[in-house]
């Protein structure tokens, strides 16, 4: 690994700026609503050794079928190799096959000043495949929350691969294969600082519950 993917700032003194809330109503990006029928769709994989960005919950993933078990070990035991998707269409290279999740992902790491659990290369990533039917919380583009409300659950939206959030539909990005169920603007969503590598929570951000 050339450059560290997980930010670590050991000396920083940290404090909470959001420990007082009017209401706890909201979602947390990258989690699914508990559901006894389909919770077993939660699957484990391993982040590609060539990943240059960490993975947190609520990110579209591209999967690779693991190598065949051989004398050098059992690569299939680790699950699919995952990498952050770069395009929408599942048929294309880097297309969306699954969504990363925080559920049960207690091996993800937080560091001082980077309070969102993340996985680096070679670490386990929990995810659910597109089509599994789970209802997960994904970050919304801030301007989109109000325009989605009142529309059809099947309205077309796209994925912003830079800011890792649902954005306005564009033909270039393509339509996300999701069904939008509800929206909140008081949710915990993830902010990535590309300069410091810190992954932090925005505790009053826009989020949507979507069925994948």
């Amino acid at each position: 690994m050339a450059t560290p993917v997980i930010s670590f700032n050991p000396m920083q003194t940290t404090s909470t700026q959001t420990s007082f809330l009017l209401s706890s109503d909201g979602y947390v990006q990258g989690t699914f609503f508990d559901d006894p029928a389909i919770r077993y769709q939660l699957e484990g994989g391993v982040l590609s050794a060539s990943a240059t960005l960490p993975v947190w919950g609520g990110i579209p993933l591209s999967l690779a079928v693991p190598a065949i078990n051989g004398t050098s070990g059992q690569p299939t035991a680790l699950g699919s190799t995952v990498s952050i998707a770069t395009t929408t269409a599942a048929s294309q290279s880097g297309g969306i096959h699954a969504w990363s999740l925080f559920n049960q992902a207690s091996a993800m790491i937080i560091t001082p000043g980077s309070g969102v659990p993340v996985a680096g290369p070679g670490m386990s990533v929990n995810f659910a495949r597109a089509g599994s039917g789970l209802r997960i919380a994904l970050q919304l583009d801030a301007g989109l929350a109000n325009s989605i409300v009142g529309g059809a659950p099947t309205q077309q939206v796209s994925w912003d691969f830079t800011n890792q959030a649902i954005t306005t539909y564009s033909a270039g990005l393509g339509a996300l294969p999701i069904i939008i169920e509800s929206v909140s603007t008081t949710s915990r969503v993830v902010t990535y600082n590309s300069t410091t590598g810190a992954v932090t929570w925005n505790t009053q951000g826009p989020c949507a519950i979507v069925r994948i």
Partner: protein, 338 residues
Amino acid sequence: MALIAPARALVHPSFIEPELIITTSQPSGFMEAFAGGGLRVKIGPADKFVYVNRMDVRTQVAAQQASANLLPSATILLDYLQTATYLVRTRAEYSDLDTMDAGEWNVALPAAYRLASRQGIFQYIRTAALFGVNASNSEGLLNTPGATVVNLPPDIYGDTTMRTYDSGQLALFFLLQIQNAMTRMFMAGVPNRIVILGPQRILLQAQMTNIVQTTSYQRQGAGTATTAQVIKEVAGQFGYEVEFAFDDTLIGAGAAGADAVLLVVPEAIIASTPGVNTNEFATLSPTLQANTLQYADMAAPVEVTTPIVEGLDVTSRMRISSGWCIRSQAITVLSIPY
């Protein structure tokens, strides 16, 4: 360092007053700004960091007249806060000859060195509390990220300094900051302690000199009470106990060279209501009812005394954290030009 106890020329007969004039340093009130009014003596002498774990929650429910099966869920999140600790040490060495020289001045040298070492450490604890050991790492109460920062606005006559400001309006300014702090923390109506820590020249003037001027209309304290009395009395009637504490290292420490005054709510009183409590989650224990903390391994420095050639070596040490505001809504940094 050294003991300077010289020989001296005296006239005989004479009388030497046995009591000494000892240099007095400001006994800072900075500790009042911390939860419990003191150091949190919990850490070990070798602990390099202090961590505080934190729990947050987001909740969702469904409500229908009949029962459906697709239900939302609550999410519980855990993360942690940290601050570094620092070992503060100082050394004193003396011999029996030094002790005798000091004795000629009616000074008990071992006790004098002990108190000098302690004072050095204690004053550094004050520096760490307010300004941090390393300010660039967000240490110290003044450097709390996300703290509310307020510059004193001009009064209705356009006055901007403590010496000229309208006394009644200054009381309202402070009361507004208390109101804002309590509002931010959803502690309206919850009796609590508020500490206003600032230089003597600001706060003592508010206590002693700034009697609220009479005007053509009735206002609180006019002609009888000072700014500080109005603050204390009005806030006190609603259960807020306002304490004034002094520290002159805050002179010039505010914005643009103004004096800094810290308005601190050291303890987070977890408000709850009987029956349906919309703050039910926070009744889970253990919960930390502190907003501002400074950790230490001992209440006073440990002394390690070692014989050295012809004398004694005494090192004093204490491990401390910087002043740490774990909930940044609890601090308001006021900049008040003198």
